[in-house]
């Protein structure tokens, strides 16, 4: 059991990361990545919504007729997103205002639907919860690192505190939409290159038990 959970963690964080491998769910959250604080709150929301939707859908899978499966999934997801929205409005009204429509858009985040369909439909509730949570974490890791770059270069601050020296000229492009696309591309590039190298190494290790000295 723990071996399986560990594999899910590794899959969702790295080998099958929702963002740079599956390319899912980038829609709603890229827009808020010019501030680390908003990104953190948003991705925590997505992780919780994914985890609890997977848990619920996996627990009720036997009771859902196939024909209405999609609409039941959407309704369960919206239920959790409404809870998140209400909590944000009550405790973090300023963040809720800045996030605007993007909280509601968690409903149509493809990661949640994707996990519900691909994993929760065929697995036990607890494992599905873990799968949803780790998918959210993989998503969070990428988006927060993008947000750090964008906030530091675009505003010269991190989580609202000034980190760059006084004379630093902010890069306006970093707070606008295009930079998010470029940074996602960079993350994909880096991740795919590292994974390709690891795959080559693994293949080499498998091919020859005694690795020959490097021939450049």
């Amino acid at each position: 059991m723990s071996g399986k959970a560990g594999k899910i963690l590794k899959d969702n964080l790295w080998t099958n990361n929702p963002i740079f491998i599956q390319i899912l769910g980038i829609c709603s959250t890229l827009a808020v990545t010019n501030s680390v604080r908003n990104t953190l709150i948003m991705t925590v929301g997505v992780s919780l919504a994914t985890a609890f939707s997977s848990l619920t859908l996996s627990a009720m899978q036997a009771a859902i007729p196939r024909k209405v499966r999609m609409i039941v999934q959407v309704l369960v997801i919206s239920f959790y997103v409404i809870l998140i929205d209400i909590v944000l409005r009550a405790y973090l009204p300023d963040v809720s205002k800045q996030l605007g429509p993007y909280v509601g858009l968690i409903i149509t985040n493809c990661i949640i639907m994707g996990r519900a369909e691909a994993f929760a439909a065929a697995n036990k509730p607890f494992l599905s919860f873990w799968d949803g949570l780790t998918s959210g974490l993989g998503y969070m890791a990428v988006l927060v690192s993008i947000a750090v770059v964008r906030e530091v270069l675009g505003f010269g601050s991190l989580l609202g505190f000034r980190v760059m020296p006084q004379g630093f000229e902010p890069w306006t492009i970093m707070i606008m939409a295009p930079s998010a696309f470029f940074l996602v591309a960079f993350v994909m590039w880096w991740a795919k290159t590292v994974q390709a190298k690891a795959a080559v190494k693994a293949a080499a290790a498998k091919a020859g038990p005694k690795p020959a000295p490097a021939k450049a």
């Binding site: 390319i23 409404i82 493809c110 295009p178 930079s179 696309f181 994909m188």
Partner: protein, 199 residues
């Protein structure tokens, strides 16, 4: 309900196509945007479907918001209601198109169910709610956003077709280079942003 913003619906229409393109400046509808933009025919079909659905959904959900949600004071349910509105509009369109024009159904039919979970549609509706647009503004905003999305996906499909065989670093192939392309497109669109504003 807040007062309507003082934006001419015509200005709003063009602003939502170009300067505040729902895809390139608000990142909505990315999933299907990336997966469907590989060839022009399906990009065209999906773009048309999104435009039609978005215009109708913007109008219908404005009416629902004004005459059902606000009077009954059930704003906390608005996400669920909007999702149901979208699903219902898509379902009805599917039936109508199937009856009226089977040829169109063949080309559009497969895209319609996809649209229910397209974040651009729900996004446009939520923007409409938050900015408290009037009816005419809501419709032009919906139509403009849909057209803007259509334009963006057609441009991207054409660019991808042209650059298909260009040499690209192995790690950037596929999604990576597509993101870079979208980034350049977004820069071009944002270039207009001083001219007109959406709100």
């Amino acid at each position: 309900m807040n007062a309507e913003p003082l934006v001419n619906p015509v200005v709003l229409f063009f602003a939502s196509i170009f300067t505040s393109n729902i895809l390139l400046s608000n990142f909505l509808g990315m999933c299907s945007f990336i997966s469907i933009s590989k060839d022009k025919t399906s990009a065209n079909g999906l773009g048309l479907a999104v435009t039609v659905v978005m215009t109708i959904c913007a109008a219908v959900s404005w009416l629902v918001l004004r005459y059902v949600i606000l009077p009954l004071d059930i704003e906390y349910l608005s996400f669920i209601i909007f999702i149901i509105v979208i699903a219902a509009v898509v379902q009805m369109l599917e039936m109508i198109i199937d009856r009226v024009s089977p040829a169109l159904y063949m080309s559009l039919g497969i895209f319609l169910p996809l649209i229910t979970v397209n974040c651009a549609i729900l996004g446009a509706i939520l923007f409409m709610q938050i900015r408290s647009y009037g009816f005419l503004q809501a419709v032009t905003f919906g139509a403009g956003s849909g057209l803007g999305w259509w334009l963006a996906i057609m441009l991207l499909a054409s660019i991808r077709k042209r650059t298909e065989n260009n040499p690209v670093p192995a790690g950037l192939k596929g999604a990576g280079i597509t993101m870079v392309t979208i980034g350049f497109m977004a820069m071009a669109f944002i270039g207009f942003s001083g001219m007109i504003a959406v709100q």
